[in-house]
Symmetry: C2
Subunit: 203 residues, 2 copies
Amino acid sequence: MKKIKDKKTEDRILESAKKIFYNKGIDGARMQEIADEARINKAMLHYYFRNKEALFDAVFKEATQKIFPQVIEILNMEKPLFEKIEYFTDKYITLLSQNPIIPVFVIREMNNDPDKFLKTFSERIKIKPEIFIRQIREAIKSEEILPVDPVQLFINLISLCIFPFLARPLISNVFGMNEAGFEKFLNKRKKEIPEFIINSIRI
Amino acid sequence: MKKIKDKKTEDRILESAKKIFYNKGIDGARMQEIADEARINKAMLHYYFRNKEALFDAVFKEATQKIFPQVIEILNMEKPLFEKIEYFTDKYITLLSQNPIIPVFVIREMNNDPDKFLKTFSERIKIKPEIFIRQIREAIKSEEILPVDPVQLFINLISLCIFPFLARPLISNVFGMNEAGFEKFLNKRKKEIPEFIINSIRI
DNA sequence: TTAATTCTTAACCAAACGGTTAATCTTTTT
DNA sequence: AAAAAGATTAACCGTTTGGTTAAGAATTAA
């Protein structure tokens, strides 16, 4: 019974911290605001999490755990290259659509303190796209695709998927999209990106 | 004689503010740190700029003025489509390489307060890529390129150019690049991106 | 039941923050 | 040279900030 109650409060804190940190970053977030959001006393934040940084780290950890492992998992699947590119784009944009603020959050905090990010990140998550890279190399050898630089191709794929989530306010404004319009744009993109890439590299 | 001295101090403030704001954002930046960087008293910041927000606005304005007008200018040039894509990629990546922190800065602050951004931004800068979009439409009609969505193609071009600057710490780490290595990667990209795009859409 | 442990709160604190003030130094104007 | 205007500083101020404390509820263990 104790554990259930624990989780209840601790989870509410984490949920509130997520909401505030995601939208304002560690520097813009206020501990009081997180406490208010969770409808608890500010001291409770320090009871469950030592300090602001520890609370932030927990939130950041969850955000990266939610995104990166899935990326790698898909890229390591045993699938033909073209099919994998299609599958990846669809799954990745769907995942980000469900957490559209995470890309901004991760990019912001990663650049805020790159050393800290790389340290805590590479300790937990192995993001080695070597299988995908090797698969590209093999496709080149077997003359299935043009001889492109595998690393550049990989970055292209990631860029095309993530960037719209980072520049969303500007894109929506320039092309006069409302929320539904942007969602439509993203859904269309799920098919456009693989077509775009495969068209480019297919022999 | 007065004006020269004015400029000297005011410029030094702006320069220091740029350095701090670019790297830490408006929330992470401290007025004292900016003053220290400029080797002046903190009160001077308020003498030349009313308050933190006004100083930040001046910095943000300069950053956007440095990037966006050039993007539009190139996209509005009278150039054949393929040549324009090549020219744009080269000039844009070169420009960003000279100001590699600006993309992170603009994306961070744009998402920090989208309404403010869109208001002050669209007042000053008209970023209507209509000429480029029309050019794509015409290339489709004349069967020079495949019938792709012009907006998606435009976003693809921008995504491929900007994203590496946003994810630089992660990219450098995953692929073991040092500073020179990343620069090499970017330079290679100046040719890879146009090839990649043109390969994809050319009939 | 009672003692110990865990959870929660209100009140508090020192440091850091953006911003102000009043006096001083420097330059320009007359 | 004297007065006016502009530039610069040190000291100060009220507020906000992350964090603590000590006391009280609530739950668990004995």
